[in-house]
Symmetry: C2
């Protein structure tokens, strides 16, 4: 397992302000969101998913997306790279009006999940992505391939479905691609199978990986991914995210757990663990559903 | 990472009735302990750490060790292999009077932890182990090397300290040896370093590994261990154990998480996941501090 050389450093993208906050039942007041975003920006993180421009009716938690993003631009633009999630062309227009380094579009590799998530076929989503690309101007465009490994409805996802979406996304001209283990049920064998296919087709393309710790396999999956040369990982401070209707249920892998893991095995992240733990503690005090190994750690 | 062939099967030792129960603040009535032991014995597990013969003053939870073990012998002897923990010669005498397939003695690789845990030097513990060996008769004798990787007081443990204890234990004639990540802070790099030393010195000796999921690294450590040919692992149903004074703090790696992990990567355990989940659900209902990924899983 450690026959191969580990990377000297990896990049962590902080997704808590979007994927984490979105899962919280109670509205987090805008000033508290901003305070947490500021605290996260001070951990040493180089890139952050700041918010999402979705329908406030669908996700009331994100109703203040513009205010959060305007604050971020004033304080952090040029220091921390930003990406905001957009579900469609309309969201893209709103996001572009406010401004961010990148907008991120989501499409699932599984038809069933894409339909459940967006009420569109994968084909329709790819057409929407093309429309977003046509209006984005200088803003970078990212695409996240949800259910890249396993779908909660259809089970294991054919690696060729992922390859197909990535091919078309690259043809459209996107600037970054994320492969997401949306439900967190992926195991290192399944991950290795799909990523090996992806590697053989797209060489050293610097994909992001978005892993969950649902079944306790986030670290072993990260290890398997690094073994194949992947070095960009999403995580959420406090492990927020996942399932808004089951407090304590596993969500995104926690930034503090990932940073600790990388530190222990000598892989640099540029992120300060103590600062991330402060953010997690603050979120806990605020009553957010913090769920990470390090935050639950025995104090004895 | 998956260049090497995974083992076709591994052995899981269920340690919940000892290491898990021991960490629970409130006394679990003997009949409930017995009911849980019965349920665990019905999961397909082949070996169980059933109880420990420690001072009831030090650990009141284990005051009914004899009754639990007598029940186990009546119902499960010959079907599920048993081991009971003994801290010293006196505990061994009590255990031998009741009878079990094996007695398990604990010594730490770190002097500081051994002193804190047993009020003895490592030398004194090894002498005590020798005394236990002299009275054990036909009962098998196991030894668990606590803090085999890292000590909460002294930090990283020199692999040679582990090698030295294992050498003497083998010379004394023990029948099984467990290497324990007692605090759960071991990472796959540290694990690989120590286990590589151990492998080079003791060849294919079938060590047990006792891993915790404190920092979310139980699976990646398990993976690293399998990569070096290790195939016997401790785990506790419900993830019970660890720290009695911090509810929810990470304890032993949960049997359900381990079984799920092995199943997903095609490694057979002989243990039925559904049955283990039933045990965990039952323990939850009883108010025990269940703490596993699968038991917290989003029901949505």
């Amino acid at each position: 397992m450690f026959d191969k050389k580990l990377p000297s450093n990896v990049q962590i993208r902080e997704v808590c302000p979007r994927d984490g906050f979105q899962s919280q039942r109670d509205f987090i007041p805008t000033e508290e969101k901003i305070a947490l975003v500021d605290a996260m920006a001070q951990t040493g993180i180089s890139i952050m998913e700041v918010t999402s421009f979705v329908s406030p009716k669908a996700i009331p938690q994100m109703a203040d997306a513009s205010e959060v993003m305007e604050h971020f631009n004033r304080r952090w633009r040029g220091k921390v790279e930003s990406i905001v999630l957009i579900p469609n062309l309309k969201g893209a227009e709103r996001a572009l009006a406010v401004g961010s380094d990148a907008v991120g579009f989501v499409v699932s590799a599984s038809e069933a999940h894409n339909m459940a998530n967006t009420r569109r076929s994968v084909r329709e989503s790819m057409d929407e992505l093309r429309s977003v690309a046509s209006i984005k101007g200088d803003t970078a465009l990212g695409v996240s391939v949800a259910t890249s490994f396993e779908c909660p409805f259809d089970g294991p996802v054919d690696p060729q479905a992922v390859v197909k979406i990535v091919e078309e996304a690259l043809e459209i001209g996107v600037d970054s691609i994320t492969l997401a283990d949306t439900v967190g049920t992926c195991d290192p064998l399944m991950l290795t199978k799909t990523l090996t296919e992806v590697r053989s087709r797209f060489g050293e393309y610097p994909f992001f990986l978005h892993l969950h710790d649902t079944n306790g396999m986030a670290m072993v999956n990260t290890m398997a991914a690094m073994d194949l040369g992947f070095y960009r990982f999403d995580s959420a401070a406090g492990g927020l995210g996942g399932c808004p209707f089951a407090p304590g249920a596993a969500g995104n892998v926690a930034t503090e757990d990932m940073v600790n893991f990388f530190e222990r095995i000598g892989v640099s992240t540029g992120v300060r663990l103590d600062k991330v733990l402060e953010v997690a503690a603050r979120m806990k005090e605020m009553g957010l559903a913090v769920n990470s190994h390090l935050s639950a750690r025995c104090k004895k």
